[in-house]
Symmetry: C2
Subunit: 246 residues, 2 copies
């Protein structure tokens, strides 16, 4: 089973104060870019893997999705999502993405935000998501960028011009990374970008969009601290499709 | 027109001494990984964009390609390729990839090694290559990895454990990069990985493989200096296909 840091009380208390938890989608600077990658939602059945507090699950219903299944490893998350949701077509369930099996051809969209870097066996998950989608169905997800995750000590350094510089090492050494983020020893799994994309291709997906989140000029004007995100990508956004049967 | 550093005499003299120029494909550690991405060559018409000394053009003919068109911006390169080649089915021509137009549906394979980072308008080139391929045709290329190219000062640093560490900054600031490599002010064009892949998708290609070159254990045993390539990827290898007509 994957490490469940989100049910660590100290972690959860701190995590809950993040802008994206307090303000929902408006607190996530990558959200406009993610939204631009989503298909039309009207009439769609959606699975939201790593649904957290349910912000996106509720937004998708409001956009016309007929049902949303929100899954998360954390009891804290699921409890909070249920408490914040009245819509009976949104269902929340505890689930571990290392072993989850969804019903076959039961969804038009599988969505996931910043969750897959906690999953050790991504090829298995990719195959499972492919089976769970109808032909023509979409997979849209965000993940921590491997540039952000690779290094032994992932924090800003300075180059000779004193420019903010991100360290990359161990890029091709895939596997566990332990970092301190609200708690000691949070476990994530580093994969090269090629490994992630090839797992999708091998599962049968067609890649439609690969985006490395960077803030727009307007976003930087409103929130100048975002400018550092131009120096190195923190997040990878991917859109892929299960091809129609010929 | 693209900068033509390869016809700078000092640059060319130094460049010609690189192991991959002296020893050909055996001097390029990424070659086994590239080779694994190539389709069967028997009966194929091949365009080799940035053919250099013609090592790969000749290898492809030996593998059964019926014809190879080798193109390069550098008169030095083309002269050397012609001098080293006797096979009349291999043709070498001077060409600038910023403006090159190949005949339509005239090739089963377009190949390019470490050249596209010199090209400013990659979307145009991607569309042109798509048109030049037959349906079902393949595009296989290598390019300097954007992690390698992005930084203002791309050279090794050390992290707090004194581990070799590669700096990343300006990753999302695309465009010209000037570096000193055998000559001052060699001009390359940095694009994010997403931009490169999306240009291919937009041109109509299906992505088949995205690989970030890392040496194998056997390669490192034979050439220990290659171990540093595990720390950050220097090269991106991409295989894409023009889909068959339905």
């Amino acid at each position: 089973m994957a490490q469940n840091i989100y049910d660590n009380p100290d972690f959860f208390a701190a995590y809950s104060q993040l802008p994206r938890q307090v303000h929902g989608l408006d607190g996530a600077p990558e959200w406009p870019a993610v939204q631009a990658m989503l298909p039309a939602l009207t009439g769609k059945r959606v699975a939201d893997l790593g649904c957290g507090f349910g912000w996106t699950s509720r937004w998708m219903r409001a956009q016309g999705a007929v049902s949303v299944l929100g899954l998360d490893l954390s009891q804290n998350m699921i409890a909070r999502a249920k408490a914040d949701t009245t819509d009976p077509t949104i269902e929340y369930l505890l689930a571990d993405l290392e072993t989850l099996e969804l019903p076959e051809a039961a969804f038009e969209l599988v969505y996931s935000a910043l969750t897959f870097h906690y999953v050790e066996d991504f090829p298995r998950l990719a195959r499972m998501m492919h089976k769970a989608l109808v032909p023509g169905g979409d997979l849209v997800f965000t993940i921590e960028h491997p540039i952000f995750m690779a290094a032994a000590h992932p924090h800003w350094m300075a180059d000779e011009d004193d420019r903010k510089t991100w360290p990359v090492n161990r890029y091709s050494v895939e596997g566990e990374r332990r970092t301190d983020w609200f708690a000691k020893g949070v476990v994530k799994y580093h994969r090269t970008l090629g490994t992630t994309l090839n797992a999708l291709i091998d599962a049968g997906f067609q890649l439609r969009r690969v985006k490395e989140f960077a803030p727009t000029r307007e976003q930087i004007e409103r929130a100048p601290e975002l400018a550092e995100e131009l120096e190195r990508p923190m997040m990878l956004l991917v859109s892929a499709r299960k091809p129609e049967r010929r």
